[in-house]
Subunit: 714 residues, 2 copies
């Protein structure tokens, strides 16, 4: 094992240089061993000993059991000569074995030249696992871990993390496979040495990070035992072709441009039109009717003015600075106008027009990218609906104006999904800070948005629909940082093979292995939404909920049947139904009928008056051991829906005044009046839903996922 | 192997009788072999041969490889005497082996008495699987199948079916485990003999069906090869305690009572009240305001009339027949009033009162059950909200009246869930035939409801919320029959351990192993809803959709992004996105812009006018190869939501007139106007949903699940 980082890198560099020179693409076994040794990846060791003491020391250093083999040019058939001993398990056995082998050799051939005895580490058996590394086109280097045999091959039970992986990442991989229990020891087997396995994963991840030309690496099998882990076989494939570099400006540069785009003093509309039904007309209307207070400059080859604003033939004719140009002209004119924007020093181009990569016109899009780089204009799109940034009253889009203000920033790769975001947000009164269309993502993408929204005080949650990540590595790095401050929710479309095929046919999106997305998003603290509606519901509810201080969730229900379904949902969403301490159980029992059920759920039963909801909820909020509350309401004449809502809010406000805030969600079972009660509760900080026991628990689960990832829960 | 059914049963009966006499509870290995032999369950065979020919024949009959062992009282150490040969693989090897063993024996001890040579079948290796049978308290005898080792022990990868299992059931079990692929041959292994494995499952299921006292049976491991399957070990545990019999009237008896309950000429309200806020008052109001046209008889100890109806002190005072009595009196008075109902010959008692098993008063509930049996009154509840049967204008409940008429019959075990059903149905305009509360299910349960709704022309789908099945076996038998005619959807609450605990604390429900519920419900053709909202959405949409004639599903979308998410949802819901034949692909291309994507999804792109939706949808409906269509709409100025809805309905109606009906669902992405469009489409036979790509596909998936189970899809 090589201690110094430079030293170990030098060893590997030498091996790889030799390989490159030879034109081979994979390492031989001895080369593999050299690389593993350099990085401290345990493979079977061997050493030549010239004495019993040397043999014993060598064996002790490499670990037992070992084999001893005579090394002599005069003895061809070692076994026949009594020159091989297997399975020696202690220093003593090795020392006496050494003596015996030498005696046997002398007896076999008295004058044989003897160079010594080779000590070889033997594999100890144990649980077979696979540790590897792959290169993903979007995420770059990833480490992989799985259990051997059918579990990987048939059940695809494997888990990935970005390399380099921390020890915590590596340990999480041991729990990240379905069959994780095996590693803890089942069927009478001992638990494996988790630290050793995690160490192995970390070392592999360092190796492939240090040497990007290592395209694939497989330790298969690795034998894991209670005493350690050792790789029986190593396979390394290299690829010396350099990876294309993607433009990655630094954070300050991104923010400088994004601030001009999101908070522009002047917006030009290229292709502005006074004619109804034209995109350039819709954009003008939305800017004006949306209440944008900056300067709007219509650009039109002939018009003197459009919608009361002075028009110009080119952006270059506009006096003063322009921050953003919204394009509403056919694809073929975009490149020319973009050059003019460049010459004008415009920070951002909102490229609504379609007709680029998504229609096969990859060259046309590439041309835009080159102009953008040359003049340092950030490009949004092409093939988008535009964007909204409500704090600037900015509706730079051809869609309908949008004005439900709040703190959720949303983005979508697809225009249709963008329209669904707008419709849902308006209908559900979800307050929004921004809605951004990313389309073909020729330049601006999710990591630019994350970088802006991270420091945007108007935004408290970021929700993104995406079909691919052009640069998953960059997204992951930014997301990892941002999720420490704000929840990030992602709907990854193209999860399935069929979905991925559909994605690649409608954009240039290349949807990757979904398991990689799943693992990496979790590694970065991103909440993954299983579907479109979930993305929208999370975006609406998560920012409303206070952050829980601990894992203890309690269900308080008037409907026992809701309690059962809410309990199921807690398990589905990884929430921990707290075990009720006896004193707390007794305290709840004082407020509920004798046939009600304490424990958790606390079932106050359906016929109770508002005071029972009031007393039990107050108790739940006042007790420090309870960290989150799920309410199950049952519509009765005794406690009608709006009465329930008011009682709940009274208690909540009373305790807020005392500084007590806990996340509360509610499931309302009842006649249509529960819709109004749910709306009233939601508007006052309690996400509440009629006719479902799943959604309230799912949004609470999303809040917990984020809070755990951000390290906010003890 | 025993051919005659009587013969094999006699063998097993003899073994079990001996066991019972001995007081043991499990079979010895020789007893297990007798039982297996009787039922043709292959276990290693053995035979005594007196000649080489006999040995060869015996080996051939039992299957190779075999072992030969000398049988002689004079030879103690068989191996030393050369009296054992292993792994003989053909008749020839056996014949010459026989001769050799005899020669060896003579050489060893010339005067040894030789009784012959034992031929023993050897295990062939192969894939280890587990086949077993268990006794479930609700479902009775079940067969189980899983792959051996960690797959069963750690991943719980096991599947169940009701016994007796048909060959089709048994074959479905081989596909019913996660690791099913292993049985088809992986890692160079051969595929196993599926017919042999299925045969083994069928035989085990027959054995435990014939002998209910066999509580548990395990064949573990069974070695499955390309040539057959053989059980290496058999374990049988018996339980001679008789199972309690549950009252199970025949179908005609059930229907006679159910018809009187659902379509009564006279309803008595026991505990009727003129006082607002009383349950007996709500029931009276609901009956009257609900428009019930039969006779309503309030029962009250003193009143002369209540709400304009003549009151009686007892049901026995009412002249003429009473069909149903609705109870609105405290628990302690129920038994007495029920006896009077019995004496009056009333068919059904709707037991609204709580205070029975759910509060620990098991005895009180048992008393009601005994009265019910004695007088042949069917009991609904206790601890329920009552029921609605809309074709009779009957609201026999204390909840709000309900009048959205349609064809979905719903039931719930819990009152809270019943209220959610009412609220959702009213809000979503889901037409309902019946809503029934089952509560403690002291008598009437889901199989009685299924039996009634099966023949009820007013009902076209049955949707049930349940926490347990008091008699899962009976439910399964009825459901299996009913699902051949009408879809049955079940929400099984208490899926998870936490949910099951909650269920047992609020009712007497004992929620069973969820995997068993899952497998048995599927075996019976029941659609399982994952959550409450799904149950409601399926109940609303499934009856609206025509039954598909085949598996080919096509997505037609204006929003490429919706197409991707809809494709994901198809995979999630087990739908088959058809591969487009080239001619059909070309036909679609004629109608869509050059940069649109044909294939499947067909992406017509967002900017298209109504005629593009019209032409492509018409083509999709006219082409026989497409069996179902999923529409993805993108709100644009060119084709606004209501225009889209009208165009779709025009095409659909045009083709309906030509006799073409196919299931169509729609996902609408757009601003709030899409809500109105979705409602209009739904009201006209096209389940349509705003802001979700998941729900439309899920309801189509539910329709497919039912149609497949009912054998309606080729």
């Amino acid at each position: 094992m090589q201690d110094s980082k430079t030293g170990r890198q030098a060893v590997v560099r030498q091996v790889l240089d030799k390989l490159r020179a030879s034109g081979r693409q994979s390492l031989t076994a001895p080369e593999g061993k050299l690389v593993c040794d350099a990085y401290g990846i345990p493979v079977p060791q061997e050493a030549l000993a010239a004495s019993a003491a040397e043999a014993a020391n060598a064996a002790s250093a490499m670990g037992f059991p070992v084999a001893l083999k005579i090394v002599s040019p005069d003895i061809l058939h070692k076994t026949e000569a009594g020159g091989v001993l297997l399975g020696l398990a202690s220093e003593q056995e090795v020392a006496s074995g050494y003596a015996q082998i030498l005696a046997n050799a002398r007896q076999h051939k008295a004058d044989a030249r003897i160079d010594g005895v080779q000590v070889q580490q033997m594999l100890p058996g144990g649980q077979e696992v696979i540790i590897g590394a792959v290169t993903d086109p979007s995420f770059g280097k990833l480490v992989a871990f799985g259990l051997g045999g059918v579990l990987v091959e048939v059940l695809k039970d494997i888990t990935f993390r970005l390399a380099p992986a921390s020890e915590a990442d590596a340990l999480s991989m041991l729990d990240g496979v379905q069959a994780a229990e095996i590693l803890r020891g089942v069927r009478g087997g001992a638990a494996v040495d988790r630290a050793a396995l995690a160490g192995l994963i970390v070392k592999v991840s360092e190796l492939v990070t240090d040497f990007p030309e290592i395209a694939e690496l497989d330790l298969n099998p690795v034998f894991a035992t209670a005493a350690g882990a050792i790789a029986a076989d190593v396979r390394v494939v290299v690829d010396f072709a350099p990876q294309p570099e993607r433009y990655r400006p630094d954070t300050a540069t991104i923010l400088k441009a994004m601030n001009r785009i999101m908070k522009p003093a002047t917006v030009a509309v290229i292709g502005a039109s006074a004619e109804d039904g034209k995109i350039g007309n819709s954009v003008m209307k939305n800017l004006i009717n949306g209440g944008y207070q900056g300067q709007i400059c219509p650009i039109h080859p002939k018009a003197q003015e459009i919608m009361g604003r002075k028009a110009y033939a080119s952006v270059k004719d506009v006096p003063g600075e322009i921050d953003v140009a919204v394009f509403a002209i056919p694809a073929k004119f975009v490149a020319g106008a973009l050059v003019e924007c460049g010459e004008k020093g415009i920070a951002g181009a909102v490229l609504i027009p379609s007709g680029f990569a998504e229609t096969g016109n990859v060259e046309g899009q590439h041309e835009l990218q080159e102009i953008g780089r040359k003049y340092n204009i950030r490009l949004m799109g092409p093939n988008i609906y535009g964007f909204y940034y409500l704090p600037s009253n900015l509706s730079a889009t051809f869609c309908t104006p949008f004005d439900v203000r709040g703190h959720a920033a949303l983005s979508s790769q697809s225009g249709g999904i963008g329209m669904a975001i707008i419709g849902f947000s308006r209908s559900a009164k979800m307050g929004v800070s921004a809605i951004v269309g990313l389309g073909n993502k020729s330049d601006l993408d999710e990591d630019d948005l994350l970088t802006f929204f991270e420091q945007d005080d108007n935004t408290s949650i970021i929700a993104m629909h995406l079909e691919d990540l052009k640069d998953g590595r960059s997204f992951a790095e930014v997301a990892r940082r941002v999720t420490q401050k704000k929840p990030v929710v992602v709907l990854k479309a193209g999860r399935t093979a069929a979905g991925a095929r559909a994605a690649s046919s409608h954009t240039a999106a290349l949807a990757g292995n979904d398991k990689i997305y799943d693992d990496v998003l979790r590694q970065c603290g991103v909440i993954r939404a299983p579907g479109l509606r979930d993305l929208l519901e999370y975006a609406r509810a998560v920012p409303v909920l206070p952050t829980p201080k601990g894992e203890n969730v309690m269900i308080l229900t008037g409907a026992g049947g809701s309690g059962v379904l809410l309990s199921d949902a807690c398990v589905d969403n990884g929430l921990n139904l707290m075990t009720m301490p006896p004193d707390l159980d007794a305290a709840f029992r004082k407020f509920i009928p004798p046939f009600g059920a304490a424990g958790n759920p606390v079932d106050i039963t359906g016929g109770e008056p508002p005071t029972t909801y009031q007393k039990t909820l107050r108790l739940a909020l006042e007790d420090d051991r309870i960290h989150a509350v799920i309410l199950g309401y049952w519509h009765t004449i005794v406690t009608p829906p709006m009465v329930f809502a008011r009682v709940v809010l009274e208690v909540v406000q009373e305790l807020r005044a005392k500084g007590i805030t806990k996340p509360i969600v509610a499931s309302l079972a009842g006649d249509v009046e529960v819709e109004q009660a749910a709306e009233h509760l939601f508007a006052n900080g309690i996400p509440a839903y009629p006719y479902t026991t799943e959604t309230p628990v799912a949004v609470l689960g999303a809040k917990y996922k984020w809070a755990r990832g951000a390290g906010l829960i003890a």
